[in-house]
Symmetry: C2
Subunit: 354 residues, 2 copies
Amino acid sequence: MSRRHRIAVIEGDGIGREVIPAARTVLDRAASACGFTLDWRDFDWSCETWKATGRMMPEDGIARLADHDAIFLGAVGYPGVPDHISLWGLLIPIRREFDQYVNLRPVRLLPGVPCPLANKQPGDIDFWVVRENVEGEYSQIGGRMFAGTEREFVEQTAIFTRAGTDRILRYAFDLARRLGRPHVTSATKSNGIFHSMPFWDERFAAIGAEYPEIRADQYHIDILAARFVMSPERFDVVVGSNLFGDILSDLGPGVTGTIAVAPSANLNPEKKFPSMFEPVHGSAPDIFGQRIANPVGAIWAGAMMLDHLGEAEAAALVLRAIETALGDPASPRTPDLGGTAKMDDLAAAITAAV
Amino acid sequence: MSRRHRIAVIEGDGIGREVIPAARTVLDRAASACGFTLDWRDFDWSCETWKATGRMMPEDGIARLADHDAIFLGAVGYPGVPDHISLWGLLIPIRREFDQYVNLRPVRLLPGVPCPLANKQPGDIDFWVVRENVEGEYSQIGGRMFAGTEREFVEQTAIFTRAGTDRILRYAFDLARRLGRPHVTSATKSNGIFHSMPFWDERFAAIGAEYPEIRADQYHIDILAARFVMSPERFDVVVGSNLFGDILSDLGPGVTGTIAVAPSANLNPEKKFPSMFEPVHGSAPDIFGQRIANPVGAIWAGAMMLDHLGEAEAAALVLRAIETALGDPASPRTPDLGGTAKMDDLAAAITAAV
Ligand SMILES: CC(C)[C@H](C(=O)O)[C@@H](O)C(=O)O
Ligand SMILES: CC(C)[C@H](C(=O)O)[C@@H](O)C(=O)O
């Protein structure tokens, strides 16, 4: 009997509804080439759902997703729907309820993608950002006093647990070891942020000591952001808190010109719960309907999903197909890559390359 | 009687002890050219002071600084001295006690400074980062529980007051108006950070409405960081919280290749208390003693100080001298600019250009 993976698909809003079907075609092709089946189950949850029902997903949404091997997400968010509804009603609960405590994003200069930095070639920049994905600065703890008066103020509390901090740091060191990359960099701000970041540094030192063959260094987030631009070649694995990782994992793709093509994996490494895979880009309502979105972010996210499902060969096949299509000057290119092609043409070129 | 400005000088540690004297020479030259006097008073406070006395500055340090028109700071920090001592014992109390609630930093592509971005010319990138400098994420509120056990966790609380938020936003819009720049961009993260950032956005909308001629827009900090790299031409004035402003005001200089030459002004705009001017770079113990530090950060900070003291003509003179010296291929260049010159030679070239 052939292998079968059950995938919950949430296309979501805007171009999520375009790029996810395009990516599915590519992934199905890779699956049949490698002898397994992707069993897609659609969950039509989006800002439309919220408008109709007052919820982004049904009350038992998490339970309905639980029984899958992975979740494949497009994007959520639409004009007129406040972010705290679209995100805290779907994206963030999925990350938390399924304990997807790792957000993993590659930063890689790809062939054929215009890079804003001077004098860089594909291969020069190639590292991973590991972001803590369920605690830290993203928290509902806090509140507002004296609302609507001159004395008004808000408090926002970040929470860093030892268990939560240690496991993300350990994931980063394990990743470096697994990939044979000799170096882990920690993002900190212990010179400015008084309680949380000195604690983060302590744990980084403690966990780092368990990996004597890996060089551990740290930078304050301000100078680290600058170094992403000034010397991106020097990184192997960069690990940061929920907020710092969020910033660095958009800045990294920005530096390589690949925001539109970057993927994001929300991982529960122990596979106790399904992990979730999504393109970094958002729902982009301004271009929705024109079918000119770049499908590579979703396709690359799909490749990370295949890898997580144990289908390393298929994952590599998809990644090579992306590189082949983007690297070929004769391939169709979407407007963000300087071309005039439609999404479907680029997706077809990648499917053909698989 | 000629104008006289009393300046408290804290050279601090490392290359602070080299670049500040160099900058003083330049500023004195500009002062005599413009008919005023800088009355420098040295405060020899540094990590050495801490080693000798257990304090970075004497107990009445703030009171002793109060009676000055400005403070000119080199850098503090030295290996073996924890940051929470060197910074929370001097830099941060000065910012707070003197209500220096604005941190202002130019992001400008200068002639002769190698830029990491492709295809940029001096003039292409020229904007200001306005950072809230006394509240927000930098706070001592919070703490640790179950220290040293598996259950250990830390809490870190950020505080945003309406008064503190409104005045920094208003400063940013006033600056745009004063400089004739049509556009203010706010750094937010209201899609991820639940209490503080939605409040920040509310206040940004409220204050922005007082400036109908200025276009107000906002980006989440993650995508904003990426845009600093992908499209830095589009900014005029960028305003952010203490942490976001900190990150953006190092990233901006990183993007223009000017970390070593960037200045930072800690302003009490009402001039109720002295403001403080410092280079962005730190004490750089690794190069201290070689006299190869770039003095431009300190000199440019000095120019901002002259401007704040009402000496706009002298400030412009110094800034032009910096541009002249850096723009002249025959000028001495320090190693960070790709040359082999000593700090003193570059400083002399700038003095001569004044
Ligand atoms: C040294 C550190 C506390 C400081 C800050 O974060 O404010 C520095 O990065 C700066 O920007 O002046
Ligand atoms: C949409 C937003 C809440 C989200 C985040 O900050 O986590 C996004 O920026 C991301 O990185 O996936």
